[in-house]
């Protein structure tokens, strides 16, 4: 599902509209520039880069991304790098990862990598952030922190989130609309309470209820 939205897999049928534009034919990186940013269920950090570099590589259209500009106007690059660095520091502060900023990202714990994935989405002007099981493999304390960050970003920074999650507490806390899917189809859509109490959801996830014989 996320692979379709983010453009990693091509759509076999149908169209994908975003902000009243048809983005079906766009590739992953083009969709990023439209404001669709994703994270991965199993974190995909850039393991040989430091944590701060992981964040600094994200902003689009940096001056130093062009070979010629690096050679001809190194000063412009340096100024732009300084801004990017500042921004990355703010994000690390926000995520409370400052103490590991110069570690190789590959050496972080699973939970820290999840935070780093969230951090990458904050380095750009995202409109829609796709979070793929942010709670998977994250310990409880860190999870609460993650929830706070997500709801802060949603309320204060105006990000829209789509969350794939199995952790019911997290869904209850964060989600306004819940869509329950099974076998590639939408079972039910609504707020958390309706979805949770719906018998079809229980059936899909726990199996058919045994008929009680009188």
């Amino acid at each position: 599902m996320f692979n379709l939205i983010a453009g990693a897999f091509p759509c076999s049928s149908g169209r994908f509209m975003f902000d009243a534009n048809d983005v079906t034919a766009l590739t992953t990186d083009q969709r990023f520039h439209k404001g669709i940013v994703r994270t991965f269920q199993i974190p995909r950090e850039f393991q040989s880069l430091t944590v701060i570099e992981n964040l600094m590589m994200v902003p689009p259209k940096q001056a130093g991304e062009s070979l010629l500009r690096n050679w001809l106007t190194p000063r412009v690059t340096a100024v732009s790098e300084r801004q990017t660095y500042q921004r990355a520091c703010e994000v690390l502060d926000f995520l409370e990862l400052t103490h590991v900023s110069h570690e190789r990202a590959g050496r972080l714990s699973g939970g820290q990598k999840k935070l780093l994935e969230l951090g990458r989405t904050m380095m750009t002007k995202a409109k829609l952030v796709l979070l793929d099981e942010p709670a998977a493999g994250v310990n409880r304390t860190l999870l609460r922190k993650l929830e706070d960050k997500i709801s802060y970003l949603n309320k204060e920074c105006g990000y829209t989130f789509i969350l794939i999650e199995h952790d019911m507490e997290m869904i209850q806390k964060l989600c306004n609309r819940v869509i329950c899917m099974a076998e590639g189809k939408v079972l039910i859509e609504g707020n958390f309470q309706t979805v949770r109490s719906d018998p079809r959801v229980l059936e899909a996830y726990l199996g058919e209820p045994q008929a009680v014989k009188a």
């Binding site: 983010a6 990693a8 590739t27 992953t28 990186d29 990023f32 520039h33 940013v37 994703r38 991965f40 995909r44 950090e45 850039f46 393991q47 040989s48 880069l49 430091t50 701060i52 570099e53 992981n54 600094m56 590589m57 994200v58 689009p60 940096q62 001056a63 130093g64 991304e65 062009s66 070979l67 690096n70 050679w71 190194p74 000063r75 690059t77 340096a78 100024v79 732009s80 790098e81 300084r82 990017t84 660095y85 110069h102 190789r104 990458r120 750009t124």
Partner: protein, 325 residues
Amino acid sequence: MDIISAFNYPVYLAIFICIYGCLAIGLNVQWGFAGLFNAGIAGFFAVGAYTTSILTSSDLPDRLGGFDLPVPVGILGAMILSGIVAWPVGKICLRFRGDYLAIVTIGFAEVVRLVVRSEHWLTGSTSGISNVPRPFGNLPYTQAQIAYLALTGGILFVAYLLIECQSVSPWGRIMRAIRDNEGAAAAMGKNIPFRRLQAFILGATLMGLGGALYAHLNRGVTPDAIDPMIASFLIWIMVILGGSGNNRGVLLGVMIVWIIWSASELMTDQLPTEIALQAKYGRIFLIGLMLQIVLRFRPEGLLPEPLSELRIRENKDSPPRDTVS
């Protein structure tokens, strides 16, 4: 005069180190930064060597070229043409990843080698192109060698600085990110095919440069020069042994491997003829053994890739450069 001529061998060695340094830095851009497994270095080396030979040699009746152009034009032309050749090759080959890319690039290098061997009107086939001018060629031998060393050393130094500048820049960061995880880099809005192609072409340009310097050194080029054993695989060993991803490490690798390779040739030449032939294979064995030892005990190479020092971090402690000036 005898004292000066004692320098002949080290100078000759150093010239080759500079030439292979260009090839190795080119490979480092492709493999060390962008993770492109290019095993067809010899192909770009040949394109560079033949381009400059055709551009700068004097006229011959049955062959294209002999334009008699100045050497710098030839070298520049070699770099540009290598880049131009790398474009379609990269467009097609870079759809492959890892080992498959290695296979198709070996294929490319073999195609180039066969074309060079058989197209007499273009490359003079097996006899190659001779009368290529050599910079400082009018000086006595030793002085000419030293002057040529200064030239290649200077060119290598400039190439090193230019590539090192990219290595610590956001461009280098993107390349390393793509190497680490392509999917995630695409999800962060980076155009992967374009970036891979960029690294491939930049690397190929440097390989063409190496080829051009080689042709001018030898006043010509023959198909024997495009031996994949030396022009492709020896370069790979240099890069891996020195430390891929680190330009200084790569140059160290070039020095070590080339000195062993070259000095062992001196030694095998002293042996009686019947053993000398076998000893030649012993040299290859020696290099292979060294690669094994490095891979076993230091898989990241002698000088591994450093954590990128952020230019910003340097600036942060000292006042920003703009206010100083």
